[in-house]
Amino acid sequence: MIKLQNITKEYFNLNQKIQAVKNLDLIIKRGEFIGIMGMSGSGKTTLVNLIAGFDEPSSGKVIVDDLDIAKLSGEQVSEFRNKKIGMIFQHFNLIKEFNALQNVIVPSIIANKKYSIAVERAIKLLSQQGLEHRLYHYPAELSGGEQQRVAIARALMNDPEIILGDEPTGNLDKESAGKIAEILKNIHDNEKTLVVISHDNNILKSATKIVTMEYGELSISNVNNR
């Protein structure tokens, strides 16, 4: 379970105080699929960054499975991110120098898992994404949709409980976006918790709850009964 308790995040830009998130409260239950919408600069990405531990709240608490993220050391946050969180980005963020298989294996290497087991799992995950024929292809040799599927396989590599996405279809054509939305739905069906920033209806229609961010504040705009 993810609990955001009275979260405020402030930062300074040109000596001007900006509140990216204001007094936000949100509880995300295990297995929920939260879709986050909102205008540019409304605080969506800040919210996801707070859950991922990239940012610390100016006030309030981010609690994930009884862990107060702010109280963890740098090492502990990294371990938390490695084991509990899988991230999917708009621009895929694959390591250009690695092929698809190597990219997917990275989280396991960081977690010090046995290499042969990691390779086996990575091949399985890439095959599930329909990329068994692209294992040794490098990001530059893959289409946008394929790159995003590699990124999803990477996010699932350490079998995390939470998947965070920041506009995962924002850089894709309609067909590829549809495939990604389907994959995210399948991930949710496998009882993962998903928090995804998106304006893509294909994704949002699979969400159990859609929240809208506006000027750092949050409103629940829709609850799907999936």
């Binding site: 990405t45 960054n49 991922a52 990239f54 940012d55 740098g74 090492e75 946050v77 990294s78 371990e79 938390f80 991110r81 490695n82 084991k83 969180i85 991230m87 980005f89 708009q90 621009h91 895929f92 963020n93 694959l94 390591i95 250009k96 120098e97 690695f98 092929n99 990275v106 989280p107 960081i110 977690a111 490098y138 990001p139 530059a140 040799e141 990477r154 350490n158 920041d166």
Partner: protein
């Protein structure tokens, strides 16, 4: 990826190259004042005679020396034509440049061993017994004292040697040890560089293992031929040059040499680090998102930097020794990058890399991970 990997390899090579060049300059700059100090405190080694004779060497009556009954094992050969020394041997100061009209003492045994002669670039062939045919264009020869006496010839004379129907014409360029088994020392001049030949023409080479006899020969030679001469050792020469340069460079300047060298290296190193970090920012961010801690990132980075440091030190020491040293030697500066030079280089590099890593830690900590991940 091949492109990305190639780019990365090229970046690494460029980084290694830049740092090696700069560090070799720095190493040389830093070692100049250190070398001065070293020269000052180092005890003088056993003197190796290095005699400068002013004026062209002329032939000399060797009999004055070998008539002395106390001199049994003397081997004297004075070559009318010169040669170019290209290497070094330990027991005599023969370096890359030999001033014209230099008298050198070369160990007798050295001359007997053709491989050593190759080292010093003499290209002599020792032949016992009959001269073999098939050697091209030999025009000069050193003959043994006994043959010289028997034939009644002297340096500069021409002798004709017949082997079967072949006729060989030689100018006698030297007289060798009367007790030596060597009948002929034939000098191959075919490979001589004409300019070098001209430059070194007139040198006098003395081959002996009997220093007393040699000194007597030299003394006789110089006195008889009314030559101006200076007896000195190479250590004395080095010290003289070192002291002269040192006196012209006050301590503060020497400190600036060291400080300036290190500063230059640090500036270049930090600049290179900046470029490297800029190139790695994206991957640092991705790895952070996947759960790598800053500590782990620094560890990966430090290993890479240690590899670079060791490589740079190694190549910079080589460049310093074999390029900078050669270049500076022409200016007659007494700089040598030997083991202690490489050790100094390693220590300096460790200091520089530590400073750079401290700076890098700050840079890596400031990588805007979330922002970079959002922007891709």
């Amino acid at each position: 990826m091949q492109n990305e990997s190639k780019k990365n390899i090229l970046r690494l090579i460029k980084q290694l190259l830049v740092l090696t060049i700069i560090f070799s300059i720095v190493l040389t700059l830093i070692l100049i004042p250190i070398r001065f100090e070293y020269e000052q405190v180092a005890p003088l080694k056993e003197a190796k005679y290095h005699i400068f004779v002013n004026g062209k060497i002329t032939k000399h009556d060797y009999t004055q020396v070998i008539e002395d009954p106390n001199i049994v094992n003397v081997a004297v050969a004075s070559y009318g034509s010169g040669n170019v020394y290209k290497g070094t041997i330990n027991d005599t100061y023969i370096e890359t440049t030999i001033p014209v009209n230099t008298v050198l003492l070369v160990n007798h045994e050295t001359l007997k061993d053709p491989s050593k002669l190759d080292i010093i670039g003499l290209n002599h062939f020792l032949i016992s017994g009959n001269l073999m045919s098939g050697y091209p264009d030999f025009r000069y020869a050193s003959i043994s004292w006994s043959i010289a006496k028997r034939l009644g010839v002297d340096i500069g004379d021409t002798v004709i040697y017949w082997v079967g129907n072949s006729k060989y014409e030689y100018t006698i360029s030297g007289i060798t040890n009367p007790t030596s088994e060597t009948e002929f020392i034939v000098e191959d001049i075919s490979a001589f560089d004409p300019i070098e030949e001209e430059r070194y023409a007139g040198n006098l080479y003395i081959v002996t293992e009997n220093k007393k006899a040699t000194m007597k020969y030299i003394q006789s030679y110089i006195t008889e031929n009314k030559k101006d001469w200076t007896l000195t050792t190479i250590e004395e020469q080095k010290n003289r040059v070192s002291t002269t340069v040192k006196e012209s460079l006050p301590p503060i300047i020497r400190i600036w040499f060291v400080a300036g060298g290190l500063f230059l290296y640090l500036v270049v190193l930090l600049r290179e680090q900046n470029i490297v970090i800029s190139n790695k920012n994206r991957n640092f961010s991705i790895l952070t998102a996947l759960g790598t801690s800053k500590k782990e990132l620094m560890k990966i980075y430090a290993i890479e930097q240690i590899f670079i440091m060791v490589t740079v030190t190694f190549f910079a020491a080589l460049v310093s020794k074999f390029l900078m040293y050669q270049a500076l030697f022409k200016l007659y500066l007494p700089i040598e990058v030997v083991f202690h030079g490489a050790a100094i280089g390693l220590v300096l590099n460790v200091i520089a890399v530590m400073v750079a890593l401290f700076y890098t830690t700050r840079k890596i900590n400031k990588v805007p991970v979330a922002e970079l991940l959002r922007l891709g």
